[in-house]
């Protein structure tokens, strides 16, 4: 492609001016931005690499379907859960996936309100990531109910049994929080797509593609009146999504914190869950962005500046998470409660101690390399660090769920938790669902918001005398 020399130039520029890399490499115009993003979907042939990657993850997705079919046939007994550990992988994975979704909303809504222009090139695929992560999360509570075909009982609807849900239960709050979050994220994503779908409609040459994108664009024509209402609705959605995203993981943490179980019953849970969610979400953003910018040659739009900023967000939220772990230990000590103290000693030295120490290593110690600018500007090292953080955040939920449950109040009720291959199959399957959806997304939709990228150009700015009101 003719973009190649530009990419090289941007790499040189970034090497010369570390940390000052531009959000958008100079040299772009309205036309080149449009062409570049559109051509990824409409002009680029399907490559063997894409097909191979998609086939692999689609295979994993089918593994999930198989594992779920067997689960529905046999029941949750095929998993490693039992009393006392009645919450196993299903809840760990649910919390992990919901958390990953948070970065998408943070980037698209909170950074929009804070007028962070650099978000414009990563918000679209981060929002897609949110949607797919929430879809993966949604799988678990559903199949965990034991009788998933009755899951609709969770919703308040008039029924012949005369029964209503218990609104005082945090588990029901979760139903409302996650389904609202999924709905608002989908709306936000779709509204953002409309103008870009119109660009696709106007650029596509294949009549089938033209028709489908045309239907989705709903006749968008870029009218000034439409843009005005559009911007108003977009900003309002961002304003609504901001408290929503903070509330979702807060509500998820209430599932634990509202109970009176040692290790769960702490007030630090909501803020530290939210920070952990953003932490893991940004790690997933980087895990996706680093290969995408390389394989699709969009280093000039997702520059090292983006990677650097994302790494800084991870560093900051990682420190909040570290504070959370410290406070958990402090609570156990300061409460003077024998059960709390025992729980914490057991977490540090008990049979599940390996998980706690791995967690500290992956989530707190290793990510400290992000203080070093060279690491933040090195995509390969950032990629590995992000994978470590994702693993660490998964372990955090594992530690919270399993080590708190497996030693009950009475030693006669103590137990152990060992995940079965069906637990692993469903988890791997959701990874398949997530990544095969991402593979389809980058080939079918504009993965960078075209109209917002245009706003980053100097030629999109009005000169002062024209902009002045008279």
């Amino acid at each position: 492609m003719e973009q190649a020399p530009e990419t090289k130039a941007s790499a040189t520029l970034e090497r010369l001016l570390p940390g000052q890399a531009p959000v958008l490499t100079p040299g772009h115009t309205l036309e080149t931005i449009t062409d570049k993003i559109v051509s990824i979907v409409l002009r680029r042939p399907v490559t063997l690499g894409w097909l191979g990657g998609f086939a692999f993850f689609f295979g994993l997705l089918n593994l999930m379907l198989f594992a779920m079919a067997y689960l529905f046939y046999r029941g949750v007994g095929i998993w490693g859960i039992n009393i006392p550990v009645g919450w196993g992988f299903a809840i760990v994975n649910f919390v992990w996936w919901v958390g990953i979704g948070h970065a998408g909303t943070l980037i698209s809504a909170i950074l929009l309100l804070l007028k962070q222009g650099w978000r414009n090139s990563i918000n679209r695929f981060a929002e897609a990531m949110t949607l797919f992560a929430v879809a993966c999360a949604g799988v678990f509570p559903l199949i965990h109910t034991g009788r998933p075909w009755l899951a609709y009982w969770l919703f308040p609807y008039p029924n012949t049994m005369g029964v209503w849900p218990q609104f005082r239960s945090p588990l029901l709050w979760d139903v409302f929080a996650v389904s609202t979050y999924a709905t608002i994220s989908a709306l936000f994503w779709f509204v953002g797509l409309i103008p870009d779908l119109a660009t696709f409609r106007d650029t596509a040459t294949n009549p089938v593609a033209k028709t489908i994108y045309g239907l989705l664009a709903m006749g968008w024509r870029g009218s000034a009146r439409h843009w005005k209402r559009y911007e108003s609705a977009y900003i309002l959605l961002a304003g609504l999504a901001t408290p929503l995203v903070l509330s979702v993981h807060t509500v998820v943490s209430f599932d634990f914190a509202i109970s009176i179980l040692p290790g769960w019953h702490t007030t630090v849970f909501p803020p530290y869950f939210v920070a952990g969610a953003i932490y893991s979400g940004f790690a997933m953003v980087l895990v996706l962005a680093i290969p995408i910018r390389r394989f699709y040659g969009v280093q000039d739009m997702m520059t090292l500046r983006h990677l650097d900023n994302a790494a800084k967000v991870m560093l900051g939220t990682g420190l909040i998470v570290a504070y959370g772990y410290t406070m958990e230990a402090f609570y156990a000590y300061y409460s003077g409660n024998a059960y709390e103290l025992f729980m914490f000693k057991n977490r540090l030295l008990g049979p599940m101690a390996w998980s706690y120490w791995c967690l500290i290593l992956f989530n707190i110690l290793i990510p400290q390399v992000l203080w070093i600018r060279k690491v933040r500007l090195n995509p390969a090292m950032l990629f590995v660090t992000s994978l470590v953080i994702l693993l660490g955040m998964w372990l955090e939920r594992f530690v919270i769920v399993v080590t708190s449950l497996h030693r009950d109040f009475l030693p006669s009720s103590w137990g152990m938790y060992v995940a079965t291959r069906w637990d692993y199959a469903v988890f791997a399957g959701t990874l398949g669902l997530f990544f095969s959806a991402m593979f389809l997304f980058v080939r079918l939709m504009p993965m960078i918001t075209i109209f917002e990228m245009r706003l980053l150009l100097p030629q999109a700015k009005l000169s002062e005398e024209v902009a002045a009101h008279d």
Partner: protein
């Protein structure tokens, strides 16, 4: 559809500056039924053609209030009359535990109202619009800026309006039929 009805006269511009000054001129000349088309949002364009207020925020507020009230009173009604459950002797209307769902419903309704309100006020989905008959209109979603003075405007006069638009920085002026 056999006879062609004039929709308006369309001018094409290369920069947003040229478009905004042309819009201001057209508004000053007394034209009101006009619309501008841009590849990205430009608030000044809407202001220049005299479209300064939108009702989207009001609809969103109404949606939020409706959602909040229905969220709270659903829970209130369920727990006090439809299906009262005595939990440890606590009051049936235990409102602090209703706060979260009330909040979620507020956000949900407000968000839906914002999106549905925006689409409805914009008249979308709208599969056909005469402006799409302009031969170069696909550039409006790409890199060009258009101003259309519609034939429905009381001041519209084919010859005069065409002259008026030609006097601006337009690179092209064309008639668009319905």
């Amino acid at each position: 559809m056999t006879e062609s009805v004039l929709h308006g006269v369309v001018a094409e511009f290369i920069t947003p500056d040229e478009l905004v000054s042309a819009c201001k001129k057209a508004y000053a000349a007394g034209y009101r039924r006009m619309d501008a088309y841009t590849p990205f949002p430009l608030e000044e364009v809407a202001d220049a053609i005299g479209f300064e207020k939108t009702r989207v925020p009001l609809l969103t507020l109404a949606g939020g209030i409706l959602g909040g009230l229905s969220g709270f009173f659903l829970q209130y009604w369920v727990h006090t009359s439809a299906y009262p459950v005595n939990v440890g002797g606590r009051p049936l209307n235990s409102w602090p535990s209703f706060v979260i769902i009330t909040f979620e419903m507020t956000i949900l309704f407000a968000g839906i109202a914002a999106v549905v309100g925006m689409l409805t006020l914009n008249g979308l989905p709208q599969p056909y619009h005469p402006i799409f008959n302009h031969p170069r209109f696909t550039a409006a979603s790409r890199d060009r800026f258009f101003l259309c003075i519609e034939a429905a405007d009381p001041k519209f006069d084919l010859e005069q309006t065409t002259h008026f638009l030609e006097a601006t920085d337009a690179v092209d002026v064309a008639e668009v039929t319905d």
